[in-house]
Structure formats: C-alpha cells, structure tokens
C-alpha cells in the first residue's frame, strides 16, 4: 500500500476485479474497537490479563480460598508472607489473600455502576443535544455546567449522611456527576457525526431522529465510549477505595480494599508489609484500566503526518547519500541557462522499511522547465503528479523518497541534496502553493504577521522594511485594500483572497520557480480565472517559472506553455500545450479530452461522454508493458512490451505509445461507447494468458 499521505486523493486507485476485492476485504474493513488494538501493546495485554484473573478468582473465591474472610488466626497476627498465609495477615490474623480476592468482585462491580451511569448518561445527553438542535444543546450544556461546578465529594458525603453507606447508590450518584464531563467529550464528536452526509441521506429517507442517533451516530462513538469507560472505571475504583478509607465503605467485618488500606495505615510502623498486597492490588487494577484505555484510544493514524518525521529524515539523508554516490556527477549540459529546471529520469518510491516497501510511485520522469515558462503536470489522481511536484521541493511525505534520477536546478542536483541544504533552496529559489490555501496560513496569526515574519526570515529585512514589503506583495497579487487584509486573520477572508495571500507568501522569498499544486481546484471558476491571470502576469513580470499540477485541461490550455501528461507514475506524452491539446497523440490524452464536458459546446453536446473503463491501477499493480493498455481502446499485443518515450512524429514532443503513429494516420478517436464490461481487461501485475488473449483479439478486431 501507499503510505498514508496527508491529502488522500479522492479517487485512489482500487482493485476492481472481484478476486482482488475479496483479497482486500480483510485488510480494508474498518477496524472495530476490539481485537488488534487491545492486544497491540504489552501494557494492555497485561492489563486485560490482570483484570481477567482478578474477576475470575474473585467470583470463584468460595471454592478455592484457603480461609474465610472473617477467619481469625491469632497465632499469626500481623504476619508477613508465610506458607500458610501467602500474603500475610492483618491485625486480627485474617488472611490478606482471601480478603483481597473475596472483595475484588464487589469493588469492581460497583465501579462498573459508575461507568455505566456516567458513560450511558453522558452519551445519551450528547446524542440528544446533537440531534435536537441548538436550543436543546444550549439547555443541556447549561445543566451539565452546573453539574460540573457542584462539589462532588460534599454531595456524596451528604448522601451518605442521609441514607447511609449504600455503595451501589453512591457509585451511581458519582456516575451522574461524572456524566457531565463525558457529555462534554462526546458532544463535539456526536455533532460532527450528525453533520456527515450519510446522516443527511438517512434523513432524506425519512429515518427518525432516534433511528439516526442509534444507527449512525452511536456506532461512531463506540471508540470514545470504550476509552472513557476504561478511564472512569479506574476513577470509580479509586474514589470507592477512598470512601472506604475514610470509613464509608461496607460495614466493618466485610472486607473492602479501602478499608484494608485504612487498617494497614494504622500499622504502618509496626507491620509495614500489610500495606503492600492491598495497595499493589489497587494500583495494578487502576493501572490496568488506564493501560487498556490508552491502547484503545490510540488513533490508528496518529503517526502519519504530511511532514517527514525525524526518523524519516534520517532515512532520507541516507537515501540521498546513496543517490549522490550512485548517480554520476550532474551532467552540466553546455549552456544550462540560470533558472532552468531539468528533471531527468526521476523515480520516487516507498522506503524499504515498513509496508509496501520498494513500491515505485513515480518512474523515470523527465521534463524541462525553461525560465519564464509554465509547465503543466496533468493526469488523474493516483498518477504521481503531486509526488513529482513535491519531490522538487524535497517535501515528499514520510516514508517516501526519491529513489533515482536527478532534479537539476541551476546545475545542482536537488535529488542528492540533504534536507539541511534544501532549506536554503525552499522558499528562496523554489516555492510552493497548494490546493488548500488555508494550509499555508496559520489560523492563530494575522496575515500581516505571517507575511512579515516570512519576509524577514527569507530576505533578512528589518521589521519596518518587511512590513512595507508585505504591503507591496499583497498589492502585487491584486489585493486592493492591502492595509486592511494585513490586519485580518486567515479565517476572516474568502477562499480566493486566501489563495492570493498564499501566493504572496510564496513570493516572499522572490523564488525563481513556483510549484503550484492544484492552486485553483478549490476555488470558484470566476476566482480561478483571476488567480490564473495573476499567475500569468507574475510570470511575465518577474521571469519566474511555474510547475503547475492540475487535473483540469482547461487550466492547462489557459496558462501552460508546455505540458506533461502523466499516467500511473509515468509521463505518457509531453510537448507544447497547443500541439498536445489540439492534436493529442497518446490514447490517454485523447480519452481525457473526450471525457471532458468543457470540450464541447452546448449545441454539439454528445448524448454520452467518453469514459475510460476501470481505474488507474495501484502502484504495486503496474504492469511491465504499457500501463494504460488494460484500459485502452486501441491496445494490442505489442502493448505488453515496455514502451519507451519516443519523439512523436509532428514536432518536439514525446509520446509513450507504440500505436501513436498509426492512430495519427488513421485519425482515430476515443469512442464514447462504453466497452462492455466483459471485454475490459483485468489489471494484474503479471498479464495472465486470458487477458493476453483478449488483447490479441482486440488487436485483430
């Protein structure tokens, strides 16, 4: 599998064949809260084991206990561990082992009352408040706030004073008091689950509010419920022991952990051992509950982050060193113009440690970006465009690194540059704007603060000078009231404005190359047009070059001089934008154009749009032959061999298709009819004889 990369592509390639799907069922099914997580760490295994032993031993106590809990052995008062009394005895010579285990079930059982009342009531209130709307939520929240402000100990002592030491009832009241906190924890999650689209879909079906809460919200809360239950269980135990310690436990001859600790505390000088077995029992039980809670609460993706971790960085440094030693010294082509980016045979792959090791995500990608030009990297999600773009900045996600090839920037090979050295390149020479402008902006600081801080760091300017420069930059990106925008926080401005600010931020270091990863995808078309115009004027004014990652062929037509069409980690066609869009040579480019409703006018809008069968294959399933063959309408037997990127007949462009010339001569179009599913080829890493036969049949047809 591909490691967890922060921006999950909406349409990640998935296996299509039934066999493949069946295979993924086990790994792909959402994990329930039990199982692997619980037994994933030593602490939680030990915790579960201890609790299980404790409960089992306590419930079967009458059968095996060597002594009755009240049996007094005056020959061994306050003794340490002996053969007769394994854990010693108390001041009346009662066997500690017997008393600890006999009272365990009661202690645990009454703690569970607290858990059930607290979690049950808290969850119920949270689901009610989330489902019933703002007014109910406000009312419930106020009530829980009052509950949280009540002094719990005082209330419990008052209850004991009024009704006596009824332990189950006291634990129930404790549960009610704790439920206010649980409500707080659950409310946010319940509300976010309520806003999911599948809840909307259920409402459209006419599912009742209670039905939605039970069927769609409650299952989503289980994880939190289980974690909270484990923690509250521990709290309940401690409070119960504490009450028994101050004398509000079960009536005297009856054993209780708190009472036993209290007894031990009176003999702490003459018989210190007495404290040990009970104290250890209590501590172990509380620790067990906490360990279980921790294990269950661990988010499955807690470690996955967009930026490489320290360990990943060390790994990267190692990889860089091997590339640097393996690759020949950068071929300094005669007359490499300053400001030219030249990517040669770039490969990006998953690191050799961990899951999916060695899988290549980008293979053998080459392109050039001349100064002052815009290169488009275009293709569907899962084709490696973003990985290629991020590798230019050395910002590949953790677990992914450049495995071969060169990224030549001003004659320097960025692929073999250490992370430390990349810091002098990033922002100053090469800058990034991403799809989500808000990712570039910190919600805690004003736009002005972030801009000036960046300018001061990258350009070494003074405070006043930087502030002036920030204003200039904002004006440069077409913001009219720059002074006002400087004082705003990112959440106060619109998406289009935020993208302008993000561009200003990227321009702060006066970069020579801008890597733009889908910069307009999240914006309205009218705003997109403005941002594209802005980028175009920046290119003409500053001589900056741009690598533009996009899936929108209209954006390519608008702003790109050159375009590289990527499919399954390879460049399948590149060249001048007009020659590729007006006269595509590769079937994939043909198909993309045919599938684009923007390519048609209203009066000649077809009945059906052309489609491409199936999905982009996953990196581990890339065949050795043409990677598009399995989805291609023109595939033939020759497509099973690896296909080189060759000059396409017409101009300076390159195309990776054995049939390109034939298609051009015959003027064949990508047909809009769906190829019947039966004819669609299976995508398998090794072509099996059946699919080979199908390809041959197609070839003959």
């Amino acid at each position: 599998m591909i490691p967890n990369v922060a921006p999950a592509p909406a349409d990640q390639a998935q296996p299509t064949t039934a066999a493949d799907l069946r295979k993924t069922r086990r790994q792909g099914a959402p994990k329930k809260f039990t199982g692997s997580k619980l037994f994933g760490s030593f602490g939680s295994i030990a915790g579960v084991a201890w609790l299980a032993v404790l409960v089992a031993a306590s419930l079967t106590a009458p059968l095996w206990l060597p002594f009755k809990t009240e049996d007094q052995d005056f020959t061994a008062v306050l003794s340490g561990p002996t053969a007769a009394h394994w854990l010693g005895t108390d001041e009346l010579g009662r066997d500690l082992l017997s008393r600890i285990f006999a009272s365990a079930a009661g202690t645990l059982g009454t703690s569970i009352i607290t858990v059930i009342v607290a979690v049950g009531l808290g969850t119920l209130l949270a689901m009610l408040a989330a489902a019933a709307g703002e007014r109910v939520e406000n009312a419930v929240s106020r009530v829980t706030e009052i509950m949280m402000s009540l002094p719990g100990t005082v209330i419990i002592l008052a209850v004991i004073g009024a009704v006596g030491t009824n332990i189950p009832m006291i634990m129930g009241i404790l549960g009610v008091l704790i439920s206010a906190g649980i409500y707080r924890v659950m409310l946010g999650q319940a509300k976010s689950l309520q806003s999911q689209l599948y809840v909307d879909a259920a409402k459209v079906d006419g599912v009742s509010t209670a039905g939605i809460s039970l069927r769609h919200v409650l299952p989503g809360l289980t994880n939190t419920i289980v974690v909270q239950a484990a923690l509250i269980f521990a709290v309940g135990m401690l409070i119960q022991a504490g009450l028994a310690f101050i004398g509000f436990g079960p009536p005297i001859p009856q054993p209780s952990w708190g009472g036993m600790i209290q007894g031990a505390s009176q003999h702490v000088y003459d018989a210190p051992w007495m404290m040990v077995p009970t104290g250890a029992g209590l501590a172990l039980t509380v620790l067990s509950a906490n360990a279980i809670g921790n294990a269950l609460g661990k988010a499955p993706n807690a470690t996955a982050s967009h930026l490489p971790s320290a360990a990943a960085r060390r790994q990267r440094a190692k990889a860089v060193a091997t590339i640097a030693s393996a690759a020949p010294a950068p071929v300094t082509q005669d007359g490499v113009a300053k400001g030219t980016l030249s990517v040669r045979n770039l490969s990006v792959g998953v690191d050799s440690t961990g899951a999916g090791s060695g899988v290549r995500l980008v293979t053998d990608v080459s392109f050039d970006v001349e100064q002052g030009t815009v290169l488009g990297l275009v293709g569907e999600s899962g084709c490696g465009k973003t990985m290629t773009a991020l590798s230019l900045l050395g910002l590949l996600p953790s677990g992914v690194s450049v495995t071969g090839g060169q990224i030549l920037w001003n004659g320097r090979n960025l692929a073999a540059t250490t992370d430390k050295a990349m810091e002098t390149v990033r922002g100053r020479d090469i800058a990034l704007i991403s799809q989500e402008p808000m990712r570039a902006l910190d919600p805690m600081f004003t736009v002005g603060y972030q801009l000036t801080a960046t300018i001061r760091r990258l350009r070494g300017m003074g405070k006043a000078e930087a502030r002036e420069e920030a204003r200039n930059l904002l004006e440069k990106v077409g913001i009219v009231d720059a002074a006002r925008i400087l004082k705003t926080y990112p959440h106060q401005i619109s998406g289009g404005m935020a993208q302008r600010v993000a561009i200003a931020l990227a321009l702060a270091g006066q970069p020579k190359l801008l890597v733009a990863d889908e910069p307009t995808t999240a914006l309205d078309v009218t705003v997109q047009a403005e941002i594209l115009s802005l980028l175009r004027s920046l290119v003409t004014d500053t001589g900056m070059s741009v690598v533009m990652v996009t899936h929108d062929l209209g954006v390519v037509a608008d702003i790109c001089d050159q375009v590289a069409v990527m499919y399954a980690g390879q460049v399948v066609e590149n060249g001048r934008t007009d020659s590729i869009l007006d006269n595509p040579r590769h079937p994939y480019t043909l198909a993309l154009l045919a599938a684009d409703p923007h390519a048609n006018h209203a009066n000649d809008m077809p009945e059906r749009l052309a489609t491409i069968q199936g999905q982009v294959p996953q990196p581990k399933d890339w065949p050795t032959g043409c990677r598009f063959a399995a989805r291609c309408q023109f595939a033939g037997s020759a497509c099973l061999e690896p296909v080189p990127l060759l000059p396409s007949g017409a101009g300076e462009g390159l195309v990776r298709c054995v049939k390109a010339d034939q298609l051009a001569v015959e003027g064949m179009d990508w047909l809009a009819t769906d190829v019947p599913a039966a004819r669609a080829l299976e995508i398998t890493p090794t072509q099996n004889p059946r699919s080979l036969q199908t390809i041959v049949e197609k070839d003959l047809a």
Binding site: A10, D11, A29, G496, V525, V556, D582, P597, H598, R608
Partner: protein, 335 residues
C-alpha cells in the same frame, strides 16, 4: 407503488401535467431572531419548477445558496418563507414521517463520496436502509440492492463490502444506487460529480443520463461547473447571492448568456483548446467584471451591482425583476 406512479405519469400528458416540483418564493435565513432578520437571506425569493422527466441545473458560485435550496427541498434545512410543492403536495415543512410517506420518491446524491456512505456499514446495509424503512424484508432488500449494484456497474457481491474498499468513482456510483433503489421520481444531485476525476466524472454523468432516460426521472442538478450542468440539464437556473439571475433553456443560457453575471461565469470556465481559450480569456477580461472578493452589497437592489460593468444608480435602489429576454428570464435592468 412504482407501477401506480408510472401509470399516473403515463396517463397525464406532459403539457398540462402538474410540475414534479415547484419552488415558489423560497426564502432561507440562517440563524434566529433579530440578527437573522437583518442579515441578507441565504436564499432570497427563489422560484422555479421542474417538469416530469426534466433536468434542471442550478449553478452559481460558492455562497450562492444553491446547496441550501437543495437541502430545503430535501427537508434538511428550515425554510423561512415560500413554499415547496412536490406533485401538488406542499412539503415545505414536512417531517420525517411525512417524508417517509412520500415513498422514497424524492431522493438525493451528495457531493462527497467519502462521507455520503457510513464507513461502519456494509454497502448492503446502506443500500437496504431506505427499503427496510418501507417494510421490505432483509432478503428482499438484499436482492434489490444486488440488482441495483449491478445496474450501476458494480459486482453483486459488493453488498458485503465496506465503503473504504471502493474508489471515489465507485462510491459515487453506490450513492447513485442508494438514491435510485426505491424508484424515485425526483433526485436532487448536489455537486454529485465535483469530487471525481475526469474519466470517472464522465462515467457517473453517463450513468445519470442513462438512468434518467430509462426511468423518466427528474433531476435537480446542483453544480458549480456550468459545462457539467450543460451536459445533463435541459434548463438552467443561475444564482448569485441567493437570487435568481437568469433562467432558461440550457443551450441559450450557456451559449448566449444575457445577464452580466452569467456572462462572467460562462467566460471564466476554461476550455481545453488553447487558441479558443486565449480568445475566451480576452473576452472575459474585456467584460470588465470586477473581482468579488470584498464586495458585500447592502440589501436592496441588484446583488451583483458592485461587480457589474453595467451597474447604475438604479441597480442600487431597485431589485430587477425576472423578465423574458429571448428564450430566457433575466433579472437585469440592462440585459
């Protein structure tokens, strides 16, 4: 139930049939009390209707209120004014029980394929939910779910799998299957293909078109991309800040827009032909439409006036009514 509906549809000639859906003077305000009354409405007196078998496209920028209208029709958003009539029946404030009584005739496909299916339920459970509500047995529901999956081009045994095992395009097809499983009459598609790649977007659009032709469905197709709307819709309603700017036949509105906002919207949508796109870019820049970033107009008058190249004092004082220009209705004093 479905047969009765088909008969009714067949027996009434389309010309004088009651519209499938009629939205009249719809107003939606967010929030409560005095504050809400002072703020501009998210949906401001919007009217349109959908005939049986017709697809109406609702286009506009983010914040234009197009999704809010969809939600109001589906009963997911409280309405502040106006009426929504479904086949002659007022459903403006219908509760869950009344909606259940509609018999699943009014359904929805949402934008985000990642969150429109409950990740904890199997596809079968999700598909069966609306059927089970209508009293089908588990076995019947499962059989229907399998048939429907096959119809949208997925293997029958997908019923036992979870949403995470499907790609975005496949999940969106499952959402379509879920919407169509109880033979609806009207489907609200809220940005149903916006999150998909080109080739998968084309697959889902084709599927929607096929199902419409096959079953005589009506769609309310909400999208920001005018080219996508143009592919599927017969009529287009263009919204700006909660108000209808222009509505009319799809070809007229997209090829020969009359309202300055529609013109800006159409001109801004890029086409994948470099020479033509360069010409469009020039045409767009010559329109003189100002950037909308800081423009929040005071209530009253035309909402587009701060960006409009044609705006005069009249536009600030009087809200232009929809009037017939050519084949379309346009809300502009100067169109």
């Amino acid at each position: 139930m479905s047969t009765a509906v088909t008969e009714r549809r067949d027996s009434t000639p389309p010309s004088d049939a009651t519209p499938m859906l009629e939205v009249k003077d719809l107003v939606v305000r967010y929030g409560r009390g005095r504050k809400a009354a002072a703020a501009p409405a998210a949906v401001d007196h919007v009217s349109f209707s959908i005939a049986p078998g017709e697809t109406v496209g609702l286009v506009g920028e983010s914040g234009s209120g197009k999704s809010t209208i969809g939600k109001a029709i589906l009963g997911l958003q409280k309405v502040s004014g106006g009426t929504i009539t479904y086949q002659g029946k007022d459903i403006t404030s219908a509760g869950a029980a009344e909606r259940r009584a509609l018999g699943g005739e009014l359904r929805a496909v949402f934008q985000d394929p990642n969150s429109s299916l409950n990740p904890r339920n199997t596809i079968g459970t999700s598909l069966a939910e609306p059927l089970r509500l209508r009293g089908l047995s588990a076995a019947e529901a499962r059989a229907k779910a399998e048939d429907m999956l096959e119809r949208v081009g997925l293997p029958r045994d997908a019923v036992d799998r979870y949403p995470s095992q499907f790609s975005g395009g496949q999940r969106q097809r499952i959402s379509v299957a879920r919407a169509l499983i109880c033979d609806p009459q009207l489907v609200v598609c809220d940005e149903a293909v916006s999150a998909l790649d080109l080739s998968t977007q084309a697959q889902v659009l084709n599927l929607l078109a096929d199902l419409r032709d096959e079953r005589g469905l009506s769609y309310l197709f909400i999208a920001h991309d005018i080219a996508v709307v143009q592919f599927l819709a017969q009529r287009v309603v263009v919204l700006y800040r909660g108000q209808v700017m222009e509505s009319g036949p799809a070809a007229a509105v997209t090829e020969n827009p009359r309202h300055p906002f529609t013109q800006a919207l159409v001109a801004a949508s890029p086409v994948p032909r470099p020479a033509e796109q360069a010409a469009r870019r020039e045409a767009r820049e010559s329109l003189g439409v100002r950037t909308g970033a800081a423009a929040v107009p005071a209530p009253g008058g035309c909402p587009f006036r701060l960006r409009c190249p044609l705006a005069t004092d009249l536009c600030a004082t009087e809200r232009p009514a929809l009037r017939r220009v050519g084949t379309a209705d346009v809300a502009c004093h100067y169109a």
